[in-house]
Subunit: 428 residues, 2 copies
Amino acid sequence: MSEVGIGILGAGTVGGPVIKRLINDHDALEAKTGLSLTIHKIGVRDAAKQRDVEIPEGLLTTDLNEVVSHPDVQLVVEVMGGTDPAGEMVLGALRAGKPVVTANKELVASKGPELIAAAEQAGVPLLFEAAVGGGIPIIRPLSETLAGEPINRVLGIVNGTTNFILSRMADAGQSYEEALAEAQQMGFAEPDPSADVSGADAASKACILASLAFGTWIPVSSVYREGIERITQVDIDFAEDLGYVVKLLAVGQRTEAGISVRVHPAMVRIDHPLAAIRGATNAIFIEGPSVGELLFAGPGAGGEPTATAVLGDVIDAAREILAGAQVSPRVRLAPGDVLDFGEVATKWYIRLDVADEPGVLAQIASAFGTAEVSIKSVWQEGQGDEATLLVVTHSAAEAKQRKAVESLEGFDVVRRVQSIIRVESDEV
Amino acid sequence: MSEVGIGILGAGTVGGPVIKRLINDHDALEAKTGLSLTIHKIGVRDAAKQRDVEIPEGLLTTDLNEVVSHPDVQLVVEVMGGTDPAGEMVLGALRAGKPVVTANKELVASKGPELIAAAEQAGVPLLFEAAVGGGIPIIRPLSETLAGEPINRVLGIVNGTTNFILSRMADAGQSYEEALAEAQQMGFAEPDPSADVSGADAASKACILASLAFGTWIPVSSVYREGIERITQVDIDFAEDLGYVVKLLAVGQRTEAGISVRVHPAMVRIDHPLAAIRGATNAIFIEGPSVGELLFAGPGAGGEPTATAVLGDVIDAAREILAGAQVSPRVRLAPGDVLDFGEVATKWYIRLDVADEPGVLAQIASAFGTAEVSIKSVWQEGQGDEATLLVVTHSAAEAKQRKAVESLEGFDVVRRVQSIIRVESDEV
């Protein structure tokens, strides 16, 4: 008997393609994997809603509990999104001894330890390859293939919407508002884009990636987060002059002092592979002392690629069900120290509107010197009332940079500190 | 009890770092994975040989069978290379019900079906993540994460030695012989470089990648193979003029007509991501109808990165041992049709020494026309006795290209057909 009964929660962007392929490709999947994967129930919030996928009669229900508790459902696929009621359903399934496959980054990031503990207790797998990087295999490589590697750093572009917006600002000279409007028109951004542009989506993914990479759960509340809303065309142009591209990066780093996980715009050198990642593509670097630098790239979102990741997990969980055994938890989390964000050092790009008069540079340089921030280069753009100073520093802790900026803001010759953007990729 | 006993065959380039890390990182690995991985025997050909790794007394033996049959050895790691006696040892271990982890691409490519059948029969895993791409996770993503995707194409740079040589020829203007000598001096090429430069190493990897991608075993003897020995500085320069870089590619492609797997030098457009892959780095694209285009890149060889891949497999196999269950075979192979190589179509770059006289082009064009090969562009370089014609064709089957070249060779105006190189990446 190679049949495994499946229940699905959600029939939207990801759920639709998952359902379609489990039904249409049933025989091809059986030929390839030896598994007969059969859907027994599909739970949705609104049964009357128009869908792209045709759902066979009798499968649909609006009672989500019916999916989880259905006697023929041996494995639950959660692709409804959000933390509620998805979290309750996933916990219910795990407690009932049913493996769960989820694409829900928000849920895993916010309730990871609770869900993982429930899976461990029940002795069933909780798989979430689809939660990060869409169709890019990254969770399994991190938690299995690289299980023997003490990973130092995870760094990448994990949000396609913001990458599309920043790419359009750089390539087409659009303003942030214009690029966002275009992204919305093309369906790359939601009508309410805040989860993407604020970095919240990327922070959930950074939380998951860093937790797996470092083997210690990093609460999503400990992820430092800065969005792209304040990135201006001016800074993107100056970045280009200096040989950089602005990207929204997710970074997880382990140093002797502790772990830091952060999401923020950063300048990346134009010749760095991440600079070439355009539009909706995601790209993630993983670095370890033995394995060196690994790059994973591909379509980071979208129903079809994400459905491929869900199916891979479904096949894996189904194999375990048929083997009648739990192959020990994939994720094992030990306590770890999260570094205070003030201690995290990067290089900095700082743009100042300044008075164009003698002695200004000396005054500004002394503010950096007092704060123990070493200056790498200074450029003046424009003159008189238009005078702008671009300062790029050597690596300095956030706290020291803030101290320097605070002094600058007190100077009469500094009309305004316009932008502060991290410079990341020289260290890559 | 979380202890798993390990036997290792080979203590060389890959075996050394595997042994070192299993011993030195024992406690860190246990904290991360919950597994106590203990080496009980290490088999080598020459016990007196000087090694980088210090091996505790009593572990070393020259009797390889002693490793496989040792009662405390529950899992065998084969990192000795070659098909013999490695094949016999791996089969022996599998038949004794012991999972095997191997880094041996030559063995897996040449005896894959036999080894996989033995593993299936014994109900134990046979894992070979380290056989392709060194530290890059590629085998597991292909056979597990992408199990639900009908993959169309696998394409990549999988041999670091030839990539180093071609990179040096392009970047430093070296001849093939000079670049090879430098690679040997730097330890990137063996004293006998034939396995690398002939494409044999890449062909083993192409065989494994394509077999997993398409779910059907492609015998390594069906892999079309062409090395880099005949690539000249002249063609690399002309390629650059035309906007291409020459790379040794491994390609597995599934079309309606059948599957083709091939290794050969090819011109890749300068703006294609593979063109930027330099030196010993490996990069592999996987393409499917739903998942789109995925890229995996990193250090494709070397003891330390490859040891990381071996350790990942060891941890996975150890988990299955402790679970006391075999989680169904990862690789399931169905029969498939391998396309006759003459039917495989690519674009072509053809360099001809020609007589510099009126009517030559018409004659040459007619030869291509008769063979049903459509010309995309023609360039003449030099004049008189030095006249060279560069022809780039549209996509045409190998057999048709051969027919065209045969006609050309019969013409008095064609002094010599100097080079024929595939042009690959326009289709990527």
